[in-house]
Symmetry: C2
Subunit: 688 residues, 2 copies
Amino acid sequence: MPDAIMIVPFIGVLSLIIAMSVYLYVKRRPPSGTPSMQEVEGMIHEGAMAFLKKEYLGLVLFMICAVPLLWFFFKEWYTPGAFVSGFLSSIISVHIGVKTATRGNSRAAEAAQKHGKQAEALKISYLSGSVVGLSVGGLGLLCLGAWFWMLGGDPNISRYVSGFTLGASCVAIFFRLGGGIFTKAVALGSELAVKIEAGIPQDDHRNPGVIANKVGGNAGEIAGMVADLFESYAAAIIAAAVIGAVITVSPEFMEKFPVLKGKEAGTVKGLFTGLPVLIAIAGQISSFAGIVSMKAFKGPRSVAFLRFNIYLADLIFVALAALVVSRMGLPSGIFWAVFSGVVCGILISLLYEYYTSGPPATYTYEKARSGPAAVIISGIILGMRSACLPLIVLGAAVFTGYCTAGLYGLGMAAIGMLSTIGVEMTIDAHGTITDNIGSISEMPDRGFSLRGINEGLDRIGATAKAIGRGFATGSSALTAIAVFTAYALMTGLKTVNVINPPVLAGVFIGAMIPMFAAAKILGSVGKAAFKIVEEIRRQFRAIPGLLEGRDGARPDPETCVSVATGAAIKEMICPGLAALICPVAVGLLFGSEVLGGMILGTVITGLLLSLFMANAGGAWDNAKRYIETGRFGGRGSDNHRAAKAGVMVGDPFKDASGPGMNVIVKTVPVVSLVITPFLKPGGLFLGL
Amino acid sequence: MPDAIMIVPFIGVLSLIIAMSVYLYVKRRPPSGTPSMQEVEGMIHEGAMAFLKKEYLGLVLFMICAVPLLWFFFKEWYTPGAFVSGFLSSIISVHIGVKTATRGNSRAAEAAQKHGKQAEALKISYLSGSVVGLSVGGLGLLCLGAWFWMLGGDPNISRYVSGFTLGASCVAIFFRLGGGIFTKAVALGSELAVKIEAGIPQDDHRNPGVIANKVGGNAGEIAGMVADLFESYAAAIIAAAVIGAVITVSPEFMEKFPVLKGKEAGTVKGLFTGLPVLIAIAGQISSFAGIVSMKAFKGPRSVAFLRFNIYLADLIFVALAALVVSRMGLPSGIFWAVFSGVVCGILISLLYEYYTSGPPATYTYEKARSGPAAVIISGIILGMRSACLPLIVLGAAVFTGYCTAGLYGLGMAAIGMLSTIGVEMTIDAHGTITDNIGSISEMPDRGFSLRGINEGLDRIGATAKAIGRGFATGSSALTAIAVFTAYALMTGLKTVNVINPPVLAGVFIGAMIPMFAAAKILGSVGKAAFKIVEEIRRQFRAIPGLLEGRDGARPDPETCVSVATGAAIKEMICPGLAALICPVAVGLLFGSEVLGGMILGTVITGLLLSLFMANAGGAWDNAKRYIETGRFGGRGSDNHRAAKAGVMVGDPFKDASGPGMNVIVKTVPVVSLVITPFLKPGGLFLGL
């Protein structure tokens, strides 16, 4: 383990301090001006806190069950401790994200209203985004750095830190799966309530569903993305470190690389184990540079601005990574593996943008003329087609990583993609916050409209979110592959041989999990929505004067959000447990190789479903937005109705089940990695 | 090779003779009575022939390219010869199928009209179906039996017969992919034409699109299913024979089975190679028994009747298979592998029925109340969920087959499922023919209606088709796995190790192929439909008096069908070539192990897509049929419109892209099997 590892936690703390200062700066900005705006802001904030409170309740219960279980199996406190630290740091990241987003949102809306200009609103939402970005990266570095620093010399370090990822994975299940169901259920529920109950005001903050919907679009989306990316980040670093620790550094291996001459095998392994976090520091510094570069960027804050941020950060990162690798005296192939990860990340994001808002998506808009079925089928075609090129890009990244640095290269490619999480998370949070400026300031009883500005904000918000979505999917895939490799090395498996029929059967079982989970999540949205409809109707009956808009009659969005969150968590249990329990069951019963097959099946199918659903959903969403700009007949036309049917299918695709796949794809290998000490080659059945 | 092999071709010929006699019996039945009916029948027949003619043209061109290519690579005439024989026997099966179906159709319609009873119509359509079923099995046995008889002792027999499957696969691409696109394109095109061109009569035989549509629903569907099942049948038998020929029969192996004591290793191998065709004979005899059992079945000809046929045939088959295995002195494990295939076939068909017309589908009907988007999303959920249990069943069959008879068991499980192809194909063709009785006799200008009877016919037809669809998907999966195993053994691969990153990249590429093909096929339907619209409009402009319905003005359905078939073939080239060329390219460039990974990716994804699309499509179709019986508001209601949106998405799913996946899933491993002599472990790139 290189000595430089001790700087890792400090960089983490430094990032958090910077994030905190930016947060205080944003918080000092004038909040919502008019009393009505303040009321809305207050209700959204309350709702967001109610969402978090309910989620925390579920998480605490989960932790109370999980920690003794881990202790019981591992008979030591490091693994459960790492689990708790991963669990808590993911929760803290989410908390910071949600808090900043709701604060930043109202302040950006106020800026947009007061100055009537995009630039000011975008600046505030970007700064808020950067708080999220810097703290996600910072927390990851702080905790992982601390673990590596404390236990760097321990031979069981791989096992301990894999507990950390498991913690992050469990939180991701709650926020990405549960949060996704919550977000789409409140959207659907508040829409249905208006349809079912005559007289309930639409788009009015008297309707508790409207507030809940805004909580979903804001807090729910941020929370899901933060937990998802935090999981990827932690898992990628740990997978690479585990691969580094377990990989065989034979004399022949050493001889192949002149730079390693004279080093001891143990030293080289130590360097391999420590390198991932050091590269992650390079990423965090580059992210910071990318974020600061917003000052240097001339020209209007447009989509080009977002790209400029990311590419600059990537460029600096590549340079720093080259420096780190060469200063540590490691073969240059490792750098190239990192580089392939960076390129893979850029390409997958671009492909996502291309499919959801480029020429292929235009085709979907046009289909609106032929009715809802045509819109839907064209989106399905687009979704299927859009899964092809990303698969080739990922295959090429895996191949390049391997050719340049062996199995270790797979881990390093994942690190390469995820190190700049700071700037990527910033852009995504920025997108969500920007997207919500419009929805907050547009409530009809607010007495003013930002329509002119909003369209611009909308477009930038949508693009920023698209960049984030593409990144989340691609990074999940690379991370899952890296964890899979780490798993195989940890178990000492020489092969996961799919000609062996039990392994093949494992692949079948694995392929089933994402299908099952996706179906469950999609179905859950509808079920949870009905609970919300009931609650909305109950409030209108129970709170006197609410329906008539009498002064002092205030809805109770907190309860509404709480009901919705509870329903979402309940619905999340089934797919979440599938991802947690299937690997344990298959691994213990059929052994490590069959489990390897199962992981492969899950990763492949989950990845395909994620790409298919996210891209189809994105294209439908853009088709509707496009028509709403007034083309093809604009709002209220038949074309608009057709496009809306696409969105009704697409929204749960892109915000609930699609991103949910990212979590499934990572959780299955992560759980497998954690349980490696208990696996036997043939398991209970095949070992006989 | 056991001597009994010489009876195989004779059983084949016998089956063909029986099929021919039944055909002549059906043909002697009175054809359509009224002149108007005769006219319609004539046009459908002409259309079907035009469809076949155009397909044959494409096939001949394909063969002219393929045969010299095969000769060039193999430098001998057996492989191209086997290719041609597989190619031609598949074509002959299709021809018999289409011819019988169009003849049987009009005769069944006439019987329904004259006697006004279901029973008579069902009898004729069942007999017609049995012609198709017996001849598909018979042709397969005849040709394969002849090859095994002639070249049984040749050490290269495995390679030669794999050429046979390749021929069958290529024909399946033309008829299942091309035919599927044709079928759905004419359905969509004739619907669109009515919408676009004012005054074009709907559901009237003056409209050439209407006739083309009937050709699609009749000839197109039969041709696709025949070619698909013939491919499965040939591939399963050959895969099992190849596995038997290549498998290592070591002294330890012999010792494990007391029944093998005293036999020479060579003899055992010979028995293993010959057993698949002998088991297939048992299947053909049982199928015949199942078909004849229609006489014995008392009670009304309902869905129970169909099940009775299949289960009886399965029962007899299981008994005969046990007899064959024990008489040949082989271990009983082989019988259990066959048995697991039979059970797997039954379960998958039942699951298909359960999902498309059982309780889960009811949920889809109910969603019609919430509009088109809700119908579609509920169908998608159903499709995804419905893919789960079949995967477990297939995994269990693979596992059981392996546990009972090693790798050879995988081949025998596939044989077990496919041997009763005679009765399965009979039921499916019976379903298609029955389903079309209604559509033929319901043309409004015919002056009479069969509505009362039709509903019953419709239901039986739909169920019979559902049984066939489930069987086609399940058998494709098992066949693909068997061919995959045969491929691995032929190349001498010890492992297809997915931890090896190039192999993993191969899995990614493989997973892409079905996604790409499905997207292409779905898109093709729309594109080809527009060509048909143009042709229909051209005819109404060009043929004087056609629009007004003047006497003597006759549409030209032949040209319409020909245009549609041409367009479909053109659209089929891209996905078809992907399945043919990708394995060759990946195999030559990256070697046999990476190609193994690619096959796995294709099989898993293709299978999932096939189940997803076929089941979702089936459920939507049933929802519409259900509403059309008058419930939920019946025809013309909002609910009906919503259900129709589901069908617009679902029809290409279940009839074009879904079944198309079956062919892709088999063709990729079949091509790989054929090119094994040219594969090097590392290919051009990785071998360096």
